[in-house]
C-alpha cells in the first residue's frame, strides 16, 4: 500500500488521473447530495429558466427545458460508470475464459476460439454496436449488451497471448506432472499471473467504454431521454451551436475528463503493477 502511494505520487500525471477519477466517481456516487436540483435528472420542465448560460445557481447553465446542466452531467456519470462496470463485468470473464482455453487447451480449441475472436475483432466496433442496436430496442440494457459483444474479444486476445507465454513456465509443467486438472491449471495457476495486465486494461477500458457508449447515444442508439446521458446531451445541443455553446461544451468536457482520467489512472496502474515490462 505504501509502495503504491509512493509510485503514484512520483508521477504528476498519475496524481492528476487519481484526482480526476476521484471527482468523477465521487460526484456520481454523491450526486444526490452535491446538486441542489436532484429532480432535474428526470422529466422536470421549467420554462421560466430554460436555455440559460452558465451563472448562479446553474453553474453550467440550463438545457432546453430548463433543467440544470451540472445536475444532468453528474447523473450521466452515474449511468456511464454503471454501464462501463457492467460491460466489463460481463466482457472480462467471457474474454478471459475464451483466452485461457484457446491458449492452454489443444490446437483445435484454439482454432475455433481464436478465429471466432478474430471475426468479432475485424468488424469495426461502432458498426457492430450500431447494427446490434439497430435490431434491438435502444435501452440501457441493450446498450450494455451491444458494447459487451464488441468488447470481450479484446480480452480473449490479451489473455490468449499471456497464456501462450505462461504455459511455457515451469510451474505449469509441475502442475501437469502432479496431475492437477486443466481447470486448476488455467484458473488457479495461470490466471493470477495475468491479473496485472487484465486490471490495467480494465482501467484503461472503462474510459473507452464510456466513450463508445456516448458515441452510441450521440447517434440516438443508446440510453433514451429523460435519462441523462453525455452522448445524447451533446447531440441535442449540437443544433444550437454556437449560441448555446454550454449545451455541448460541458457534456463534451465531461466525456473528455472521464476518458482522460481513466487513461492516466490506467498508466498509473501499469506502473504500480509492473505490467509495462
Amino acid at each position: 500500500m505504501k509502495r503504491t502511494i509512493r509510485i503514484i505520487l512520483a508521477n504528476p500525471l498519475s496524481v492528476i488521473g487519481v484526482i480526476l477519477i476521484g471527482l468523477v466517481v465521487g460526484s456520481a456516487i454523491l450526486a444526490d447530495f452535491i446538486t441542489p436540483f436532484p429532480t432535474h435528472r428526470g422529466t422536470v420542465v421549467d420554462f421560466t429558466n430554460f436555455n440559460q448560460p452558465p451563472g448562479w445557481p446553474n453553474i453550467m447553465g440550463t438545457d432546453l427545458v430548463g433543467r440544470d446542466l451540472f445536475t444532468r452531467i453528474i447523473y450521466a456519470y452515474r449511468i456511464s460508470l454503471i454501464l462501463g462496470i457492467v460491460v466489463l463485468l460481463l466482457a472480462v470473464p467471457l474474454g478471459v475464459t475464451v483466452g485461457l482455453m484457446a491458449g492452454y487447451l489443444g490446437p483445435r480449441v484454439r482454432f475455433v476460439l481464436m478465429r471466432t475472436t478474430e471475426v468479432f475483432l475485424s468488424i469495426p466496433p461502432l458498426v457492430l454496436a450500431m447494427s446490434i442496436m439497430g435490431v434491438l430496442e435502444p435501452t440501457l440494457i441493450n446498450g450494455m449488451m451491444a458494447v459487451t459483444v464488441m468488447w470481450w474479444p479484446w480480452y480473449s486476445r490479451l489473455v490468449y497471448n499471456l497464456t501462450l507465454a505462461e504455459r511455457e513456465e515451469g510451474y505449469v509443467l509441475a502442475a501437469e506432472v502432479i496431475g492437477a486438472s486443466r481447470f486448476h491449471i488455467m484458473f488457479v495457476e495461470i490466471l493470477p499471473n495475468c491479473f496485472p495486465a487484465i486490471l490495467t486494461k480494465m482501467t484503461l477500458d472503462l474510459g473507452f467504454v464510456i466513450l463508445i457508449a456516448s458515441s452510441l447515444s450521440f447517434l440516438g442508439l443508446g440510453v433514451q431521454p429523460p435519462t441523462p446521458d453525455l452522448g445524447s446531451m451533446v447531440a441535442e445541443g449540437a443544433r444550437y451551436l454556437p449560441d448555446s455553446w454550454w449545451l455541448t461544451v460541458f457534456p463534451g468536457l465531461a466525456i473528455l475528463v472521464a476518458v482522460f482520467g481513466f487513461n492516466l489512472l490506467g498508466d498509473a496502474m501499469r506502473e504500480v503493477l509492473g505490467t509495462h515490462q
Binding site: 513456465e169 515451469g170 510451474y171 509443467l173 509441475a174 502442475a175 501437469e176 506432472v177 502432479i178 496431475g179 492437477a180 486438472s181 486448476h184 488457479v188 495457476e189 493470477p192 499471473n193 491479473f195
Partner: protein, 273 residues
C-alpha cells in the same frame, strides 16, 4: 530376479516441425532399478530432457514403451502413476508459481492426490518444509522473497509431497551457484536414503554425476551410447564420445577433491544443525 521399477524399451520420439522432422530420441532402452540413481548425461540437444518428459508422461513416445512396476504406462496416466513419478526442474524461479504462496504450491499435490484430511494438510506442508531444511513459516511467504536455492528446496518438497517412488531430477542444480549446489546435492542424497527413492538424474555436469549416480547412461544425438556403473565410466570409458565428454569436464587433483570433501562434510554438518 525381480522386475525393474521402470523399464524403458526401444523408446523413440520424433518431433514433426513444419518442414522437417527431428529424431529427438531413438531406440533408447534402459532398466531402472528400485533405489538406484541413474544419471543420464549428454550435451544439449542429446535428448536427455525428452526422455525425462516421456517418463513423466508430458508427451507420449512416438514408439517404444515405458513400464512402471511391470505395467505399461499409457498416454493418459492414472492418478497413482502420476503420484509415483515426480519431477524437479532446472529453473526454480520458473517452476514455482510466482503468484501463489509457498504453502499453496506445496498443498497442490496433497489436494490432487487426496493425501491426509483437509485439516492435516497444512501441518503436512510444514513437515515437508522441515524435511528440506526450511522454516515452517515459509508456507506463508511469496516465492519472490526466496533465493534460488530455497526455491529449489521448495520444488524438492513439492516433488516429495505426493510420496513418489521415483523422482526425475532434470538438471536440478545447474541454475544454482556452487555452494548452494553442494547443499542441494547433499539434501537430495539424504532424502534418497531416508525415503528409499529412485532417482533419474539428468545433467551435463560430470562432477555431479560422480557424487550422485550409481550408473551412468551417456546419450548422443538421441541415442544411448554407453551405460555403465559410475566408476567404470570414469575409469574405463569405452565410447569415444564418453571419453571426450569426460575430458571436457574440469579435472580436479586428489588434494582439491579432499579439500572439497572436507568442505562438504562441514556443510552437511551445518545442514543437519
Amino acid at each position: 530376479m525381480t522386475a525393474p521399477l521402470l523399464a524403458i524399451n526401444q523408446l523413440a520420439k520424433t518431433f514433426h516441425l513444419e518442414s522437417y522432422q527431428i529424431h529427438a530420441v531413438r531406440d533408447f532402452t534402459v532398466d531402472i532399478w528400485q533405489g538406484e540413481c541413474l544419471a543420464i548425461v549428454g550435451e544439449s540437444g542429446s535428448g536427455k530432457s525428452t526422455v525425462a518428459n516421456m517418463i513423466l508422461g508430458v508427451y507420449p513416445p512416438t514408439s517404444g514403451q515405458i513400464s512402471f512396476k511391470g505395467e505399461p504406462l499409457g498416454a493418459r496416466r492414472t492418478k497413482s502413476q502420476r503420484r509415483a513419478l515426480q519431477l524437479v526442474q532446472q529453473n526454480p524461479f520458473s517452476s514455482i508459481n510466482p503468484s501463489r504462496r509457498i504453502g499453496a504450491t506445496l498443498k497442490l499435490p496433497l489436494n490432487v492426490h487426496d493425501i491426509g484430511t483437509k485439516g492435516e494438510r497444512m501441518a503436512r506442508v510444514e513437515e515437508l518444509l522441515g524435511e528440506v531444511g526450511l522454516p515452517a513459516d515459509y508456507a506463508a511467504r511469496a516465492p519472490s522473497t526466496l533465493s534460488g536455492g530455497q526455491c529449489q528446496r521448495v520444488a524438492i518438497a513439492r516433488a516429495l509431497a505426493s510420496q513418489p517412488e521415483m523422482v526425475v531430477l532434470d538438471e536440478p542444480t545447474s541454475a544454482l551457484d556452487v555452494l548452494v549446489q553442494a547443499r542441494v546435492l547433499i539434501l537430495l542424497n539424504e532424502l534418497r536414503k531416508k525415503r528409499d527413492l529412485t532417482y533419474v538424474f539428468i545433467t551435463h555436469d560430470l562432477a555431479v554425476v560422480r557424487n550422485m549416480a550409481d550408473r551412468v547412461a551417456v546419450m548422443k544425438d538421441g541415442q544411448l551410447v554407453e551405460l555403465k556403473p559410475t566408476h567404470e565410466i570414469f575409469d574405463n570409458p569405452e565410447h569415444d564420445y564418453t571419453r571426450r565428454l569426460i575430458s571436457a569436464s574440469p579435472v580436479i587433483t586428489e588434494e582439491e577433491r579432499d579439500m572439497r570433501n572436507r568442505l562438504r562434510e562441514g556443510l552437511a554438518m551445518e545442514a543437519v544443525q
